[in-house]
Amino acid sequence: MSKAKNIFFVGKGGVGKSTSAALNALFLVKKGFQVLLVSLDPAHNQSDIFEKRLSDKPLEIAQNFLVTEVDQEYWIKQYLKDVQNQINKTYSYLTAFNLDRYFKVIKYSPGLEEYALVLAFNNIQRDFSHFDFLIFDMPPTALSLKFFTLPTLSLIWTEHLLALRQEIIKKREIITKIKLIKKEVERDKVLNKINESKEDYLHLKEIFEDADKTHIKLVLNPDKLSLAESIRILNALQDININLNQIICNKMQTASSRADIDKTFVNTPILNFPNSKTPLIGINNLQQFLKMNGDQLEKQLNAC
């Protein structure tokens, strides 16, 4: 069983999710934990923040600290290649008529972006289950919400298809019985596949809903637009039974007011990330920022 705790950083584009994720990761590393920071945002920022060339293969930035940027295209291609191979195997007789080429278009299937993130997430969960924390720097709102909604939505479909398939199998058995057909009971491959998928989606949904395994941190700035979108994120997550664990109020200036934010998120701990005077680029600057805001930040992070 995985001991790793997942921390997701969500929020409107440009509020500072990547920097907050990087700071949180370094904070946990400093505490002695083993941390993997994963960028699931197709427009990756972690390479720029750490000034390193990052890829799908995790790179050690410091002791007990790895960073990776998920290649969404790779996961889509890999998945479609598997589907294509399976189709070619099943419909191998089509090669006799050279009809198999018509299936080649499958590799251009759209609408798999969030599923690619799920595949990457599952892969990371499997390979880094021994880590203490897996920190995910998420894409902006639309894709993030699609990612979190995927298991719930897919479960609605799989359960409906499962019921229909069971009805079909029942009818088929009645016909076989009445017609006295001596037929070996063959396992319905479609039913098996639906059951298999259902298990996977259930598992994923459980991970997202389990407060011991998953923490969601919503990053926002003290401005109206950012707050409005954050409220939409909160509502969308609540609809699918996922709780927000922390609000990170980023780029706080002395004159900034948190009153509206405090009023909106009454039951969620709110953490202040002060505005940095120097750009938070490079591991040294990030560490320096943590050091400068040390006590106050540490107190707040420990409280969450």
Partner: protein
Amino acid sequence: MNPIIRDMKDKIVGALKIADGVLRGKAVDTIEFELEELDHVFGLLVLGSYVGIPSPPMQISLDLMPFMEKELILMMKKVDTANEPISDLFSVLDID
């Protein structure tokens, strides 16, 4: 046993077997039709995006597609009778 009697017995048993088969076939005609329609509904639900019907999340369709050869063939077959669904139903129910 007398060969004539045995021959007669075989013929009667044969006739009964045919009658049994026909009756059993008749008995499941309607269920078979219903089953075919259910198969068709299943195919449409999973692969409906090809004909403009709202489809499940793409990965569900793609995961099941390799195993849905029968449903694909049925969907192609249905194209021929799609204009006369009522006549198709009447022929199953033996209504002239």
